[in-house]
Structures are given as structure tokens and as C-alpha cells.
């Protein structure tokens, strides 16, 4: 499966407070959160992002708090995937757990510019830059995490696992 979208570019160390400021965390409603997505990094982002767009950022994307509200806000804003040079570890887990596709590629993070049109092969992790006619390879997803994705996220995976003993 591939996704194709227009790129919004961000710098390094985009923290979870920039992705979804804590002042909005008195709710966990995805639609509410989406209204403030990336607001402290770019106040105009919530207004201009369109479904299917892709975020490309530098190293350590999603650093800071454990708030799952961060990937939830991004996903609910319609962003199809995030590509970064590297991800903070809790954000990385959370994105997998809630089903937001993310790809690690320092090369892609460096080469891709705002407004580029890119296409990502979700299985192989190959990222094609249609604007610049270039190709980058994202880090492979560990087999266990592929299993999680295949099961449809952590909750479905656990449902299957506990199903035998104690399903209602």
C-alpha cells in the first residue's frame, strides 16, 4: 500500500508541547485536539493542513511528554504519515499503537522540502520524492511491530491474546 501527499516541513526536536500544547489537554476528544495540531510550532498549521498531507521533520520528533494526544492530534488532523530523521521513543511507540504510520529516514528528512509531493510505500518503507525525482529508504520496522500493525494496533493484538481466558 502506498500513500501520496504534500509535505509540511518542520525542524529538529519538535516536542509534544508544540504538537499539542498542554493547555488543550483537558479533553481527549480527537476532533478537539486536531484543531490545535502543531499550533505552537506553526500557528497557521491547523487551518492549512489538508487530509492526506505528510509531515516531514528533523531529529527527535515528538520529544517530551508521553501524551498519546500528540499522535492522535496529528492523525485526527488528517495527516497521513510522519517522516523524521529520528523519533523520540515514547512517540514512536504511541504512533504504532494508535496506527499513525511513521518513517525514520535522516536522508529523507534532509532532502525533502516544504511543498514537495512524496509517495511512501508502507510495506517497504521506500519514500519517493515526486517533486525532486529522488528516492530514500526508511529504517525497516522490526518484525514484532509489523505483527502489531497487522493485528490492527496493540489493543486488537491484546484482545486476541487475552481472548482465550477472559473474554466477556
Amino acid at each position: 500500500m502506498t500513500i501520496r501527499g504534500r509535505v509540511w516541513k518542520f525542524g529538529a526536536d519538535v516536542d509534544t508541547d508544540a504538537i499539542i500544547p498542554a493547555r488543550y489537554l483537558n479533553t481527549s476528544d480527537p476532533a478537539e485536539l486536531a484543531k490545535h495540531c502543531m499550533e505552537d510550532a506553526d500557528p497557521t498549521f491547523p487551518a492549512k493542513v489538508r487530509p492526506g498531507d505528510i509531515i516531514v521533520a528533523g531529529k527527535n520528533f515528538g520529544c517530551g511528554s508521553s501524551r498519546e494526544h500528540a499522535p492522535i492530534a496529528i492523525k485526527a488532523a488528517g495527516v497521513a504519515a510522519v517522516v523524521a530523521a529520528s523519533f523520540a521513543r515514547i512517540f514512536y511507540r504511541n504512533a504504532f499503537n494508535i496506527g499513525l504510520p511513521i518513517f525514520e529516514s535522516p536522508e529523507a528528512a534532509e532532502r525533502i522540502e516544504e511543498g514537495d509531493e512524496i509517495e511512501i510505500d508502507l510495506n517497504s518503507g521506500v519514500i519517493r520524492n515526486l517533486t525532486r525525482n529522488e528516492e530514500y529508504q526508511a529504517t525497516a520496522i522490526p518484525p514484532f511491530m509489523q505483527e502489531l500493525l497487522a493485528a490492527g494496533g496493540l489493543i486488537n493484538y491484546v484482545r486476541k491474546k487475552v481472548g482465550k481466558e477472559c473474554i466477556r
Binding site: A18, A22, T27, V158, C166
Partner: protein, 424 residues
């Protein structure tokens, strides 16, 4: 065959995975001793938990739910969130639900209550769960969905991290240097992703001399270097701390001599001055002597980093008989009710109020820009908290500087970021 040595982190993980050994990079399933969530993360976790379809939690005594971020509830939305948590706690008979008046900031509260112990594996839907590494436990932050799965199964999947060893040697401490300064100094050296995915293990003479409160402060900020966990070898100080609090057995683990580290750093405590992290990243550190003139509007002493009794004692030592600068609001927030009461008994609260500070009931409050001291556009604050990201304490155009409690107190008196030596 001779097994290779293991680090304390690897040993704890191996024991909880039911294995003799584990190696960095392996994905393993581990049994957890405690799972934690708060008023922001628990509602999301509860929603996910309910999708799993189990009738009970894995162990109702091993889940801690602590509404602390926006409590006492700052508005209707927060009240609704906490209500979800409270009702869940009642329905599933969760023993460790902490209501306003009996609570504290989660990472001050759990060790105090003996709910996290040496040798434990603890996960929390809060990034500063790494605080408990101070006790010689493996503790790490996860998201709400991970927490939901753990509440159902009592297990979590983890990647075994590589370890970095930080040796802090020496006996010559600058008078006002604390655990906060050591960890800020380290983050200043290695950067906010300097320990990404890894375990930070702290050892050396200066660490042995460091108090438990100082160790909690350091372990707390491991996440600010991107680490999975921060950890200290337990010792007599650890034993003295957990004795009388623990209500279940615990175990001390130690790294082997021949354990493997991806990196080893060595610093001497004598080279470390009180540190200040400038906006907008904890890695932007400067020694206090190189700060220059930075006027402040607010000073905050508290949080899961520096809201413990020792922090309040140091603040009182600086503030005793002094007045807060007319241009500054000083807000002091004890980490838990127990710490609050202790401070009251020691006369510290009196010192604070006489100096002109506002003292609040335990809450995260301003630390995350929640309530109880939000910054306006263009304002600057010095805070003993752990993060100074854009907009962290209020308006996106406000600024937060991080320091230890002594520097924050001295700055409140002088109206600009200052060394405690200037007010002695």
C-alpha cells in the same frame, strides 16, 4: 559457557521476562510491578482498556491512578476527565486512586507511598515515570494505549535498551550544586537526544554522596536526554528510604563489572556550577556565572523534579528573612500532602509566606502551563521544573528558564536570574 556481564537495567528486565539474560535490541515481554496513569493519560487509557473486553484489571493493587495535572479541577473539562478516572477506579476496585487532599504529584507520591520499589519494573503513562530509577528500579514512560494493554495483562513489550554509564567522581561540591545541576550539566553535554532509546546509569563518588531526593531529581530528567530510563545502584540510602514504606518484598540489583556500555562519560563534581537551562530546550544550559542579566516575572519552585522536602528546605534557607522582589511572583508547590505537612512542621511554609510567596496545594499546575501560574505574552519565568519548551508554562511567546531551587529562590529575591551567593 560464561555469560557476559549484565547491567542493572538488563538484570531487572531479564528477571521480569523470566529469562537468565537479555541483550540490548531484543524485544521482550515483561511482567510489570506497577502501572501508573494521571488525569490526562488515564481517560484515554480507560477508553482503550474498555475495547479489550476483559472483566477485570490484572491486579487492582498494582495500578495507581493519580489526578494531579489539572487538580483541584481547574475547569469543567478537567472535572469531567477526573470523573472518568474516579468512576473507573471505583468500578474496578483500584486500591491506589488518590483524591485531592490525599494526593501529590505522581512521581513524588508513588515512592513516598512505597508503591514503587528497588528491582521493580514500572510503566506509567507519563514520561517522567523514569523518576523511580532513583530507587534502582526499571521505570519508563509509555502512552495510554500501552498502559491500557498493561492494565489488562500485567505485561508490556519493551526493547532492551543499551546503557550509557555516567561516572560523577569527586568530593568537592560547589555549595549550591544539587542533583538538578548534575543532570542539567549532563543534558547540556549530550543534548536532548543524547541518550535516545538508551538507559542512563549514574554512578561514582558524587552519586553515592547524593541524597535520595537528589537522585529522584536526576532520574526524573533522564527523559529530557531522550532516555528510556535512568537508574542508580541501590545502597544504604535507598534502603533507609524504602524501609517503613515498602509493603511487599523488593530486590537490589547491581551491574556486573564486565557489563557492556555503549558509551561511558566521566565528570568531576568540582567542575559543575549551578546550571540554568535557557529557552527552549533543557540542553541550552549555562553555568550560573555565565547567565548575564535576565529579568524575570515569575519563579516556580515545585514539580516532580524539585518539589520534595529537601528542595523546600533549600528554598527556605535562601528566602529566610528576605522578601520576594516587587516585580516577581514566587509560587511554591510542595510535591505531596506529606511533604506539605512536613514543610509546615519545619516552619518552611511560614518562611515562604513571610517572604511574599504564594504556596499552593500539590499540583502539576504551572509546570505544564495547566493552571496556578500561567505566563502572559513576553513574560519570563525561572522554574525548578524539567521542561522549557515553547509555550510550556503559558503563552507561546513566554520563556522558561530551568534551575535548582536555590537559584530560583535567589532569583525571586533579586528579580533577575541570580546565584544564591548573591543573597547570602
Amino acid at each position: 559457557m560464561n555469560a557476559m556481564g549484565m547491567t542493572i537495567t538488563e538484570k531487572i528486565l531479564a528477571a521480569h521476562a523470566g529469562r537468565d539474560e537479555v541483550h540490548p535490541g531484543e524485544l521482550i515481554n515483561v511482567r510489570i510491578d506497577l502501572a501508573l496513569a494521571n488525569d490526562i493519560t488515564a481517560p484515554v487509557a480507560i477508553k482503550e482498556f474498555e475495547k479489550i473486553g476483559v472483566e477485570k484489571v490484572f491486579d487492582r493493587d498494582r495500578i495507581a491512578l493519580v489526578p494531579d495535572h489539572f487538580t483541584p479541577n481547574k475547569d469543567i473539562k478537567s472535572a469531567e476527565q477526573v470523573k472518568i478516572v474516579r468512576e473507573f477506579a471505583r468500578r474496578y476496585g483500584i486500591t491506589n486512586y488518590f483524591e485531592v487532599g490525599r494526593m501529590g504529584i505522581e512521581h513524588c507520591l508513588l515512592p513516598q507511598e512505597g508503591l514503587v520499589l528497588p528491582g521493580d519494573v514500572v510503566i506509567g503513562a507519563d514520561s517522567h515515570t523514569c523518576t523511580y530509577g532513583a530507587l534502582g528500579a526499571f521505570a519508563t514512560g509509555v502512552g495510554s494505549t500501552d498502559l491500557a494493554a498493561a492494565m489488562a495483562t500485567g505485561e508490556v513489550w519493551l526493547k532492551v535498551p543499551e546503557s550509557i554509564k555516567f561516572i560523577i567522581k569527586g568530593k568537592k561540591w560547589n555549595k549550591w550544586v544539587s542533583g538538578k545541576d548534575i543532570i542539567l550539566y549532563i543534558i547540556g553535554k549530550i543534548g536532548v537526544d543524547g541518550a535516545l532509546y538508551k538507559a542512563m546509569e549514574f554512578c561514582g563518588e558524587a552519586i553515592s554522596d547524593l541524597s535520595m531526593d537528589g537522585r529522584f531529581t536526576m532520574a526524573n530528567m533522564a527523559i529530557e536526554a531522550g532516555a528510556k530510563n535512568g537508574i542508580f545502584a541501590p545502597d544504604e540510602k535507598t534502603r533507609a528510604y524504602v524501609e517503613g514504606r515498602a509493603r511487599r518484598p523488593y530486590k537490589f540489583y547491581y551491574s556486573d563489572e564486565d557489563a557492556n556500555y555503549s558509551e561511558v562519560y566521566e565528570f568531576d563534581i568540582s567542575e559543575i556550577e549551578p546550571q540554568v537551562a535557557f529557552p527552549h530546550l533543557p540542553e541550552n544550559t549555562r553555568p550560573i556565572s555565565e547567565v548575564g542579566t535576565v529579568y524575570i516575572d515569575q519563579a516556580v519552585i515545585g514539580s516532580c523534579t524539585n518539589g520534595r522536602i529537601e528542595d523546600l528546605r533549600v528554598a527556605a534557607q535562601v528566602l529566610r528573612g528576605k522578601k520576594v522582589n516587587p516585580n516577581v511572583r514566587l509560587i511554591i508547590i510542595p510535591g505531596t500532602q506529606e511533604i506539605y505537612l512536613q514543610a509546615l512542621k519545619e516552619g518552611l511554609i511560614e518562611v515562604f509566606i513571610e517572604a511574599g510567596a504564594a504556596v499552593s496545594t500539590p499540583t502539576c499546575g504551572p509546570c505544564l502551563g495547566g493552571h496556578m501560574g500561567i505566563l502572559a505574552k513576553g513574560e519570563k519565568a525561572i522554574a525548578t521544573t524539567n521542561r522549557n519548551f515553547v509555550g510550556r508554562m503559558g503563552h507561546p511567546e513566554s520563556e522558561v528558564y530551568l534551575s535548582n531551587p536555590a537559584v530560583a529562590a535567589a532569583s525571586a529575591i533579586l528579580g533577575r536570574i541570580a546565584s544564591p551567593e548573591e543573597v547570602e
